[in-house]
């Protein structure tokens, strides 16, 4: 609405527009919202805190390159906030005070002050940009000091005597002549448990006992918060000031001391105690909600197959890696190599397990079809004889062909794979193979034959 500005009285504003909606200011909620927004900003820098009633301070030292450069960072931050409906202004400067001043009085949504030119950038700004109380600003203006630049040449002692210490301090802070530490918001609380040994421990048994105690403590804490752990790390601080670390992960959130202990047990031998370990810290690096389990009448938690399977998968994956485990899923594709998809071992199976019985498939499929020498005198007939891995097989019976055309929509153009004519053949011993001829039969070229699988 034309004419309505911050700082105007409600009556004046209503006079301009009688339909104005008026809400009481809720400073506590504003502060909470600002703190939440500051936490959200930790994607730009880990060193974040809210500042006053309307600002957020970020120490972006060493963070800007992640967004291209400093200008890129401010642009990104302002754009992201704009998407949330927040009209933000950002500035990056050498000092906290200068950034504060330029973001509020600089006149643009995103500004970056080049290194070392703070004094120059501040010179033209009004003295109110120095974070001073309004009485002092009024006093300075009465003295004829309108711009910050006019304060530069004044002796600090005279300035302090006239206007109090705050002017000189704020000016020095803005120019980087006085230190101004920034206290960040406390990071998200981590769940951890710590144990100091009265005497450095060396033996595997002592480490195991200490770890078991830590696990018990941590799982109790997790239980109180209704959480389960997905990633746990153990740091062992040695007396020669080296730190040994091991970590475990679970497929499902867990706070089962026994299960977590078994996962650690596997890796405990990797800890080299050296001359002794004096501190052990167990940290839950990643936690998820985990509802409390119902106890049965016998006081034991009811066993469930899925929990048992998850525990087994954790133990196997902990040693061999998560990628070593997979669950096959049948896929509707005629291409044998594409007929099976692999999903995570604990994924909920979606697809039906049925396979069209009319399409006979081998039980063992070579990962890569192997070329064979085949004698097939009649076109579009199975071979009479073929040689695979230096052994000749005389074909007694054969079924086919089953023509499997390539899925042209996947790889269109001249690079598309050839169609294949598959035959099921049996040699004189009774071994049953899956062979195919690549491409169509041409009189002018010798057909290429491959062995792809084995039937039972």
């Amino acid at each position: 609405m034309e004419g309505i500005a911050p700082g105007m009285g409600v009556a004046d504003a209503r006079a301009l527009d009688p339909s104005l909606l008026v809400e009481e200011a809720d400073f506590i909620a504003d502060a909470a919202a600002l703190a939440k927004l500051a936490q959200w900003c930790d994607r730009f820098s880990p060193w974040v805190t809210s500042c006053g009633a309307d600002g957020i301070l970020l120490d972006v030292t060493g963070c800007a390159h992640l967004f291209g450069d400093e200008a890129g960072l401010t642009r990104r931050a302002v754009a992201r906030l704009a998407r949330q409906g927040i009209d933000a202004r950002a500035a990056i400067a050498d000092t906290l005070g200068a950034a504060w001043a330029i973001s509020r009085f600089g006149g643009a949504a995103a500004l970056t002050v080049p290194r070392g030119s703070v004094a120059q950038a501040l010179a033209a700004l009004p003295v109110a940009a120095l974070r001073l109380e309004s009485e002092i600003v009024a006093l300075l203006e009465r003295l004829g000091l309108q711009r910050i630049g006019e304060l530069y040449s004044l002796p600090r002692a005279a300035l302090a005597a006239r206007c109090g210490d705050s002017v000189a301090l704020r000016l020095d802070q803005a120019l980087g002549l006085a230190a101004e530490p920034l206290s960040p918001l406390p990071p998200k609380p981590l769940l951890w448990s710590h144990r100091s040994c009265s005497e450095p421990i060396v033996t595997a048994e002592a480490i195991a006992a200490a770890l078991r105690e830590l696990l018990q403590h941590l799982t109790r804490c997790l239980g109180e918060d209704g959480l389960g752990v997905r990633r746990l790390s153990l740091a062992a601080y040695r007396i020669d000031s080296r730190v040994e670390r091991i970590a475990i992960g679970t497929a499902f959130p867990s706070r089962d001391t026994r299960h977590l202990w078994r996962l650690f047990e596997e890796k405990l031998e990797r800890i080299d105690p050296g001359l002794g370990i004096e501190d052990l810290v167990l940290t839950a690096e990643s936690v998820e909600k985990l509802a409390a389990a119902q106890l049965g009448l016998d006081g034991e938690v009811a066993r469930s197959d899925s929990a048992d399977l998850a525990a087994l998968v954790d133990r196997l994956a902990n040693r061999l890696g998560m990628r070593a485990l997979a669950r096959p899923v049948l896929r509707e594709s005629h291409i044998p190599e594409r007929a099976v998809r692999f999903v995570a071992p604990l994924a909920e199976p979606q697809t039906p397990a049925r396979w069209n019985a009319a399409q006979l498939r081998p039980i063992r499929l070579l990962p890569r079809p192997e070329p064979i020498e085949a004698m097939a005198p009649i076109p579009d007939d199975p071979p009479r004889l073929f040689r695979w891995r230096q052994r000749a097989h005389r074909v007694r019976h054969a079924d086919g062909p089953e023509r499997i055309a390539p899925e042209w929509w996947r790889q269109p153009g001249p690079s598309a794979p050839e169609s294949r004519d598959y035959y099921r053949v049996e040699d004189e011993e009774g071994q049953r193979f899956w062979l195919y001829r690549a491409g169509f039969y041409h009189t002018d070229s010798t057909p290429r034959w491959f062995l792809h699988g084995f039937f039972g």
């Binding site: 066993r303 197959d305 899925s306 048992d308 399977l309 525990a311 087994l312 998968v313 133990r315 196997l316 040693r319 061999l320 070593a324 485990l325 997979a326 669950r327 096959p328 899923v329 049948l330 044998p336 007929a339 099976v340 692999f342 071992p345 199976p349 697809t351 397990a353 049925r354 396979w355 019985a357 399409q359 006979l360 498939r361 081998p362 039980i363 063992r364 499929l365 070579l366 990962p367 891995r389 007694r396 019976h397 054969a398 079924d399 099921r424 053949v425 049996e426 004189e428 011993e429 009774g430 071994q431 049953r432 193979f433 699988g453 084995f454 039937f455 039972g456």
Partner: protein
């Protein structure tokens, strides 16, 4: 005359009862097979040759493929047929080094591939370790491990693990012919035979196998010529090695060959 016949009959029943008692006693002494259950093959000739009248669960079994086939198809299919018929239908952990197992082929054998969890391990040591972990977990119905050789201590560990949690273990030998002593309860060898032609139909007939029971705790080695298992008979809760065509003890077969 009739009296003598009756007396003979009574003596025969008493003998049978005594034998059954002894079998129970032996099974109890062995500590497995009774309470864990048995999976019958539903082929009387085979079940009759096994002291448990079927394949004992919660135990370790070895299966190998006869001949120098790199495919291992027959042994794999025989195993898939057994796995498909295990109840309750819990997940099956299949540990392998080479990822050449083809899920559609397993599905055709009647195995619900949604039950299958595949584990690829870099070496045999890890496979044996993973098998033992799996056998000690109550979440599984069976554990399969593909190895080249199985030492006595390793087989002993696996057999004890299988007994402890009631999970059935299968060692699938990738290289046949290295029959070492092991603690497994049975050892099987599956060989392919030329298929039985279906009258009036060209092409490959019904696949046939020679199933050899090489070793069996408390039983005799035997061999049978059977038809391969497939999905058609999966509705029955039996291993479908039906239609034993010619059953004879392994010893006799060797003598005939020599």
């Amino acid at each position: 005359m009739e009296q003598i016949e009756n007396m003979n009959k009574a003596a025969e029943t008493a003998r049978q009862a005594r034998l059954a008692d002894l079998r129970c006693y032996l099974a109890e002494a062995e500590g497995f097979g009774q309470e864990a259950g048995v999976l019958p093959f539903a082929a009387p000739a085979i079940d009759g040759a096994l002291p448990w009248r079927g394949l004992p669960l919660a135990a370790l079994h070895e299966i190998e493929n006869a001949g120098a086939t790199d495919g291992n198809g027959a042994a794999s299919l025989f195993l898939a047929g057994i796995l498909a018929r295990l109840v309750p239908a819990r997940p099956v952990l299949w540990c392998l080094q080479r990822p050449d197992l083809h899920a559609p082929g397993l599905a055709l054998a009647g195995l619900d591939v949604r039950r299958l969890v595949l584990l690829r391990a870099p070496n045999e040591r890890e496979i044996l370790w993973a098998m033992e972990e799996g056998l000690r977990s109550r979440a599984l119905a069976a554990v399969v491990g593909e190895v080249d050789s199985l030492s006595m201590p390793a087989s002993r560990r696996l057999q004890l693990a299988a007994e402890s949690a009631g999970v059935t273990g299968f060692v699938l030998h990738r290289n046949a012919g290295q029959a070492t002593v092991s603690a497994a309860v049975t050892r099987w060898r599956i060989a392919v035979l030329p298929s039985a032609a279906v009258a009036g139909e060209p092409g490959i007939g019904r696949p046939r196998w020679r199933v050899e029971l090489l070793r069996c705790r408390g039983g005799m080695p035997m061999a049978w010529d059977v038809e391969a298992c497939d999905a058609q008979i999966r509705t029955t809760r039996h291993v479908a090695v039906s239609a034993a065509l010619a059953d004879r003890p392994a010893l006799l077969r060797i003598r005939a060959a020599g």
